[in-house]
């Protein structure tokens, strides 16, 4: 959260454009009024202080329907400043309709700069993916979360899940993993894989693929999660232990992409999307993270290989 220090130090265009347009457009900086922003910031601070714990918040009305990213957007609007460089992605892609609309809305109401390059961004809002380009200290990643409660499938009642979190009573979650192994031979949860944060709370990392879960562990960036429809905020401060739930003798594994590479850039180290090719009756694989693919293709010297994860076991192929 960067304060406006001196109007002269603001980048050209940005705030001045906003301030000059303000009278015509007629809204507050970042759309939300200051008291709402203050409430959300306080909740964010509380969430950071208790990693993985879900903090209820007001989830005010914004011109986006519930279920379309209101939580992520509210968090972003609460913390964005005129000096931020914003990136918005939807399943790794900057160009999807929703990502484009969100980016436009935020920049219109704040005048901040936007980018598609992960390395240049200070604030990244994402839906269901963590960028394959490694994050750095000082960056903030805001996740859009549909269902914040990791225990919802095993316990439908909110009252009971609250108590389970309060008492650290996660037996049902382990029972669910046990049942999966008994039934399918391995845990088949693909997205929303439950993780244990800081050894205390079980958290839903939003529907990111298993591929992205190891990136949350000891991340140098600040990770914020907003669920607008459910009205919950939670957070993982930088350099926190994030452990996917797994039996000690059946370790966590990521998607097996053996033999597949990105059609455009040849990468085998990033998460790949499957694109059906109707003419060839086959599937093509393309990097899900468009910026990563672009960087690789431009052969920029700044391209580094993704962070080597300590325990990146591959699941056995089906």
């Amino acid at each position: 959260m960067r304060a406006i220090a001196n109007i002269n130090s603001i980048k050209e265009g940005g705030l001045r454009r906003y301030l000059s347009d303000k009278n015509q457009i007629g809204y507050n900086f970042a759309y939300l009024n200051e008291s709402i922003k203050r409430e959300i910031r306080r909740k964010i601070l509380k969430a950071i202080a208790i990693p993985g714990h879900q903090v209820p918040y007001s989830s005010p009305e914004i011109p986006i329907a519930r279920g379309w990213g209101t939580g992520g957007l509210q968090v972003t609007l609460a913390i964005v400043g005129p000096q931020d460089v914003l990136k918005v992605i939807d399943q790794g892609c900057d160009d999807s309709v929703n990502a484009v609309n969100l980016r436009r809305f935020i920049s219109m109401t704040t005048g901040c700069e936007t980018t598609t390059h992960t390395r240049e961004a200070t604030l990244i809002q994402t839906r269901h993916r963590v960028p394959d380009t490694p994050l750095q200290e000082g960056q903030i990643l805001v996740f859009q979360v549909p269902i914040p409660e990791p225990l919802r499938e095993v316990e439908p009642k909110e009252e009971l899940t609250c108590r389970m979190h309060a008492e650290g009573d996660y037996g049902l979650m382990w029972v669910k993993l046990y049942e999966e192994i008994v039934r399918w031979g391995r845990v088949t949860v693909g997205a929303r894989y439950p993780v244990l944060v800081n050894g205390r709370y079980i958290m839903d990392p939003s529907p990111i693929p298993r591929w992205d879960v190891p990136k949350l562990n000891q991340s140098p960036a600040l990770l914020l999660f907003g669920a607008g429809r459910e009205k919950r905020i939670y957070a993982i401060p930088p350099h926190t232990e994030v452990d996917p739930l797994a039996f000690e003798d059946m370790p966590f594994c990521v998607e097996n992409q053996a033999g597949k590479a990105c059609r455009l850039c040849g990468s085998r180290e990033s998460f790949l999307d499957e694109i059906p090719d109707e003419d060839a009756f086959a599937s093509r694989w393309v990097c899900s993270d468009t910026d990563y693919c672009f960087e690789r293709r431009s052969n920029s010297s700044a391209v580094r290989s993704p962070v080597l994860v300590k325990r990146k076991e591959l699941c056995k192929p089906d």
């Binding site: 008492e167 382990w174 029972v175 046990y178 008994v182 050894g199 000690e248 003798d249």
Partner: protein, 283 residues
């Protein structure tokens, strides 16, 4: 004599009231008054002044009819409910000097999972019907450590299944497809899974067919024989209690009216209610 060992469990002056309570509650209720409800403040005195000790290898029976307070007593003993007065001490918690009723919720949960096993009257209370039988038995084991290991837990539940004489081939079937007697056996296996040091049975054979009752009672007796586990059995079935327990408490309207050796209480009952109970038994 060996009987100088300390008791495994000691309950002192346990009382459970449902309602605001008033100074007249205790005198206004009980077997002499013939009811549980205080007429001054409508408080239900579920049980009052229950004290007993339980030693290694012993089975204690608690007998009474509906409204006697035996179920409330058992719920308090299982730390599911907080009693109004009273204390309970377990030899393995705080060297027998910590009152279990004063513990925090988390401590109670840890004690419940590790030291106490319970079999409820209805399998629906003690089991999760949508899960497989194996998952039900595994649940207490999965709570034992922060990072459980799959294979040892699986091996243990297979062992428990055979101990309660259930076919291992049905281990992964949803437990709602089991018959009533088999569901009780799953409950017993689940109660035994964490190797508890006390087993609580709440009407373990009610609602079961006679032949199934016999086999479940057999099983309980065999387990007690093999493991020497102290057991508390609550039942209104006098024959079952006589078979299983060495000492019994007879409860009526929330008070213990008589206690003693099982055969002595049945052969030589002293309290009028006990005499009535024994005379009414069909067997």
């Amino acid at each position: 004599m060996k009987s100088t060992a300390a008791p495994i469990l000691e309950v002192q002056e346990l009382s459970k009231f449902f309602g605001p309570g008033c100074p007249q509650c205790i005198e206004a209720t009980g077997p002499e008054q013939g009811n549980n409800v205080c007429d001054t403040c409508s408080t239900v005195v579920a049980c009052h002044g229950v004290s007993f000790q339980l030693y290694e290898g012993e089975v204690l029976g608690i007998v009474g009819e509906s409204g006697s307070g035996k179920s409330s007593l058992l719920k308090c003993m299982h730390l599911d409910e907080v009693p109004t007065f009273g204390s309970m001490y377990h030899r393995e918690v705080g060297m027998g000097r910590m009152d279990l009723f004063q513990c925090s919720d988390q401590q109670k949960r840890a004690i419940r999972n590790k030291l106490l096993g319970i079999v409820y009257q209805s399998p629906h209370l003690g089991l999760r019907m949508e899960l497989s039988a194996g998952a039900n038995v595994a649940e207490p084991l999965l709570l034992q450590s922060l990072r459980p290991r799959f294979s040892p837990i699986r091996a243990r539940i297979v062992e428990l299944f055979s101990q309660v004489e259930l076919p291992v081939s049905r281990l992964d079937e949803p437990v709602r497809y089991f018959s009533g007697g088999m569901q009780q056996r799953v409950q017993i296996a689940r109660a035994l899974a964490p190797s508890p040091s006390l087993l609580l049975l709440d009407e373990p054979t009610s609602g079961l067919d006679v032949s199934v009752q016999a086999s479940v009672l057999d099983l309980i007796k065999r387990i007690q024989w093999d493991t020497g586990l102290p057991i508390v059995v609550v039942s209104h079935d006098l024959a079952a209690v006589r078979l299983l327990s060495q000492r019994i408490l007879v409860m009526r309207h929330g008070r213990v009216v008589e206690s003693g050796l099982t055969d002595q209480v049945f052969a030589d009952p002293h309290h009028p209610y006990t005499q009535q109970l024994v005379a009414s038994a069909l067997s």
